[in-house]
Symmetry: C2
Subunit: 729 residues, 2 copies
């Protein structure tokens, strides 16, 4: 079916070339371009959704994938998750009538014998996982699920080891009548020993758990040393290795499928636009231009031209299938188009701007020495911040520093073209300006409040302090090696955010369960010293426990924010056994299961995957191996003498501007040649998929790329989706 | 020089072939073989020492590399390191006269104005690093040194981040008048804050350090969460990534050099033995046989034959240079020669052994069911161990279990050939037998002591308990997946031991410094409750401190063993700030430097390298990619139908034996063909270098292997060592 369809389109195209101009044909052509553009866009962003190819279907699909819709969906998911703030146990309780309504609905449902245990809250975050936009999240979950069996075997062996050591500990220490520093009997109950030794694996109770035995006899420390070496160092490394290895393996398989799906989309687009020429079908330049414009309306004409030059190496005016398929990847390479602009002051006040004094100023500002002077100022500022701000001298110096920083920005704006200074990739300029302006506003507000009334707002002062310290971070940018490390961290940022989502989903589930199990068992009283029972967190069972002694009362499950903070503390692991023992004391020993399961899921699995991912992403960044595609683009840029030095760009010493001029003018004119320059933001990835693809580039076998015609017959059903509407045109 | 030398030798060989039989020539030939054998042995074990090639020199060199010498050197190093046990602060103080002698020497040296501060103790472990046998250790140190600059940049950035956060903490919390749970002022001194936040990176004081701020206002927890995410999770992952990446890079370079040196040695050996044939020099089979015998006197004739068959693929009777060079690697592949033997009982008591009852017994023992029954017995035994052993019923059951285990071993010895059962690779059989025999002896000894006198030795009972539990470990062997994991761990064992050495060197240095700084400041009293001052570790400064409250008095630097245990606790990290604060209280705040430096060196660098190495070794084991050399050997074994199923071997269900028959008989006779079988212990590495080489196999460029004639001119000086004595022969 898809085949006959193709021939029809080709015929139509042929007619168009032969001079046919009926609006019907024109229409069909437009639709082809529109459909092809959707395919290319799907390939570019690795979407893999089946949609109807009727004109209406395309319109609906474009609406569905529009960013507005995404934002609306995310907003509703946020509202759904935020319900936890208002539900019992709530931070802001609902008004009575809403609670009543809720109760009535619940009552009616119960009366009607509908099964309605309220476990839906626990499943709520799964909504976040199941929307189109969280492909990465789903991929992470899938990879975890696939890695699980291998991890389980290691886990069983690890648990076997813990059980064996516990048995040994019971026999060695159980009968000696030792006591812990809290006066409890030491290692007499098997299940308690298992828990204590499990905690020891996390190192949270080291060396306390060892001390009674060590004090009794020095040789008994050997038992604990062997235990820690085997279970903490070796087994935990093996966990990391197994999680890493399996996660990577499955991710690689997923990326391979992604590459295949992308190719399939591009082949679909090619079929719609191809025209026969000689032996093989090709796409003409004119069609290609329209396609690129349809895919990315904001692309500049020069950028488009550059991409065409890369695709059509021999300047033949048409490209074959392999060159066409590159398009999705080419569009994903971020090319920064630069145009040299004249400083506005030079236009409006040329006399002053070109004077000797002005030139000298600009020279000074652009000099390296200027940077060193300001680095020194920052260091002096750091010392002043450290001193007591109630000293009036120190307090006034703050105004001096603020003035100096403002002066720096103004001088730079004078020396450099402002639009170039605030170009999108000039991270540190933006950072500086925002911080300084915020600090200025906050400092003025603070002193205004201070002088007008006697009211001294701590909140504003806190913000002022934070901003003052943040200002100092700028010094990092002056040191090249530091900049490199930070750039790498910024690059792997999106990936880390994916893990952020993953962790929020898991935290949410555990928070919901924890709130059901433990809400209200432990109380925290603000300004507690005045209230009765504050010394045992409002629960007499905790009287004298380590939990109460350590002032941990605020670590409770009484609302969703406290729960999240508590879960974070459990993730950090230290003292988690004290936190767990607090909750087991007020409920039962079975509560340990909750904490151990949390530890296994979050620390052993998720954090290990996180570490594995950071490692892998770092290695990719470190061992720079630019992909062939990027190299060819870079080569072309150099060939056309349109290149710009990356160092120059980073040193922000050139006057440049990122433009988005949208002229669809005639091709082949390099009218602004010296004023238009390109650079490849070679290591920034538009999509996480691009990073993933790059990570596994070396491992992807060539046949994934050289996927040939034969495979087209085995297209997945969703891609050979029947298209009756289109057939009838 | 080396060239002329070669020609001379070749001529001598030529004469020998042509029927020259003078004892002089014979002698020269023997010497050539001897020297070549040394080169091959150097290549095999990756030694790279320059030695004189005179007959005397060779003899001395062979003596030097002999294992006896190694043992002697290791013994003296051990004695040297063990001095720490007797030196002040000592476990066993020296007798007075020795101390006096020491003082007199010291006094004389001082009188003679010789510079003699006694810092040599700290440098003592460097001796261990500098002997020939610790190549791996030196390699590890070199790789660390090379990775250091990169790690330092990340470390500076990390410290900058800690300093900035500390400044922010000072401004945010310093003026609020908060107190910690111990009643001290919270976050008022900058240096204290830096230390507290450094400790927070190690998570050792989480969540305690956060609680005062968190109790004051819930939003302040955000400060700590951001801090932990950035500094603990991200920076520590980056540390691992940077250490991993750089360590691996440098190690790869080292391995490349190793491969080159090995090749050079083999080329040297080839030159000594080559004879011209056609275009290229070759080595004849006869010479090769003598060489292999000289290199590895214990090799069996069949094994040697197998190696020749692999080298001489076309059965020409001689091999060229490339095939000859393989020899070092071929010798490193562990081939297990198996011979089926007849059970001794069958020889001496054939009637009984072949009777129906006997056959049935053997059948039962070899059945899977037999294994299951004993797994069940082990599980029941585990429950019994857990129960109270003072119950007479339980106490008697121990004898039953001992009897059952003994019966199992005897039955297995009856069913399987004893020498095959105790073959070198049958780890679990050895393990079982040793454990059972020890348990039997200890149990008998224990009950003898118990009944004869009223004295009940706790030490022997402890050993009995440990052996009883160890017996249970055997159950792991029955589960295939567990066996695989354990085998992997055993395989990477030697590498882990290298790190053990590395850690001992570092511990020793820190222990010596720690003993100088802190000896005697903290006291531990055995049975302390009776002595005054026990509640503050004999130091009034510690009265009421967390150190004393936690019963940490035994964690001190008063002798070398305590120091090592304390350093291990510091490596585990948890509560290290409490330990450190104990020592800062009794000395000065500057003592913190010692503990922070220890943390940086051991935890951030050494442990990360350890994790990196375990990961890398695990990946190699997981993603099995047998090297080409092994595959060709395996192919040959299969071709000759001498192979044996690895599973069969592991299941120890065949009657096999490892032999070392040393017959240098005529070649080409497969007289014992059906009774001699081979298997490759394909994943066991004779040397750590072999593991390393395998780890980086995929990354080593082929030119390292295809290193050709051209390179021979650039031989390193030590290899073109002048050889006057040899020239005169």
């Amino acid at each position: 079916m898809s085949h006959s369809n193709k021939i029809e389109i080709v015929a139509a195209d042929q007619n168009a070339v032969n001079g046919g101009t009926s609006s019907d044909r024109q229409n069909g052509e437009n639709r082809n371009i529109e459909l092809a553009a959707v395919y290319v866009s799907d390939a570019q962003y690795n979407r893999n959704i089946c949609f109807s190819t009727s004109p209406q279907g395309i319109r609906l699909y474009k609406f569905y994938i529009h960013s507005c819709m995404r934002i609306i969906i995310l907003f509703f998911i946020f509202v759904d998750l935020a319900l936890a703030i208002f539900e019992e146990p709530a931070i802001f309780p609902f008004p009575l009538w809403l609670t009543l309504l809720d109760m009535i609905i619940y009552g009616i449902l119960t009366e009607m014998h509908l099964y309605c245990v309220r476990w839906s809250r626990v499943l709520r975050p799964l909504l976040l996982v199941n929307i189109t936009e969280s492909r990465q999240l789903r991929r992470a979950f899938r990879s975890i699920r696939n890695a699980l069996p291998h991890v389980l075997y290691v886990f069983f062996l690890f648990m076997f080891s813990v059980l064996m050591f516990s048995l040994m500990a019971l026999k060695l220490f159980g009968k000696r009548g030792l006591v812990t520093s809290e006066g409890r009997a030491y290692f007499t109950d098997y299940l308690d020993i298992v828990f204590d030794l499990y905690v020891l694996v996390t190192t949270a109770n080291s060396p306390d758990v060892m001390m009674p035995a060590y004090n009794y006899g020095i040789m008994f420390s050997v038992f604990f040393i062997i235990y820690i070496v085997i279970n903490t160092y070796i087994f935990m490394s093996v966990f990391l290795a197994v999680v890493y290895n399996n996660y990577k393996k499955h991710l690689k398989e997923e990326v391979r499928q992604l590459v295949r799906a992308k190719r399939r989309n591009m082949v679909q687009a090619f079929r719609l636009l191809q025209e026969p020429r000689g032996d093989e079908p090709v796409v003409m330049r004119e069609t290609w231009n329209r396609l690129v414009h349809a895919v990315q309306p904001g692309i500049s004409a020069v950028h488009r031209e550059l991409l065409w030059n890369v695709s059509d190496e021999h300047n033949r005016g048409y490209i074959g299938r392999p060159a066409f398929i590159q398009l999705a990847d080419l569009l994903n390479i971020q090319v920064i188009t630069l145009k040299s602009r004249i400083h506005p002051l030079q236009i409006y006040l040329p006399g002053i701007y070109n004077s000797a004094a002005s030139r000298c100023t600009r020279c000074v500002v652009q000099h390296r020495f200027f940077v060193y002077v300001y680095d020194l100022i920052i260091l002096v500022n750091a010392v002043f911040i450290g001193l007591d701000e109630e000293n009036p001298f120190i307090s006034y110096s703050e105004w001096v520093f603020l003035g100096l920083y403002l002066l720096e920005i103004l001088l730079k704006l004078y020396a450099f073209e402002p639009r170039a200074f605030y170009a999108r990739h000039q991270f540190w300029n933006w950072f500086d300006t925002i911080i300084i302006i915020c600090a200025l506003i906050a400092t003025i507000l603070n002193s205004a409040l201070k002088s007008s009334s006697n009211y001294n707002s701590r909140e504003i002062l806190d913000i002022v302090f934070i901003l003052r310290v943040l200002r100092l971070i700028r010094v990092v940018d002056s040191i090249k090696r530091f900049r490199a490390i930070i750039n790498t961290l910024i690059k792997i940022g999106p990936t880390i955010l994916t893990f952020g989502q993953l962790i929020i989903v898991i935290y949410y589930i555990f928070a919901m369960v924890g709130m059901e199990l433990f809400k209200g068992t432990i109380q925290f009283f603000e300004n507690g010293a005045l209230k009765p029972g504050h010394e045992f967190c409002g629960n007499p069972l905790l009287n004298g426990s380590a939990f109460a002694k350590n002032n941990y009362c605020r670590n409770n499950f009484n609302n969703v924010i406290s729960s999240f903070i508590l879960l974070f503390e459990l993730t950090v692991v230290n003292q988690w056994h004290v936190l767990a023992s607090g909750f087991t004391t007020v409920t039962s020993n079975a509560a340990r299961i909750y904490f151990v399961v949390f530890h296994i899921v979050v620390v052993i699995i998720i954090i290990n995957i996180f570490v594995a991912f950071v490692l892998e992403a770092f290695f990719v960044e470190y061992n720079v191996s630019t992909s062939g595609l990027q190299t060819s683009l870079e080569k072309k840029i150099k060939e056309l003498e349109l290149g710009i030095d990356q160092d120059q760009l980073e040193g922000n010493l050139i006057e440049n501007l990122e433009t988005n001029d949208n002229d669809l003018g005639p091709s082949g004119e390099h009218k602004g040649k010296p004023s238009v320059m390109f650079t490849i933001a070679s290591k920034r990835y538009r999509t996480i998929e691009a990073l993933l693809q790059r990570m596994f580039e070396a491992d992807l076998s060539p046949e994934d790329d050289a996927d040939d015609e034969d495979h087209d017959n085995s297209l997945s059903p969703e891609l050979s989706f029947p298209n009756p509407a289109f057939n009838t045109t």
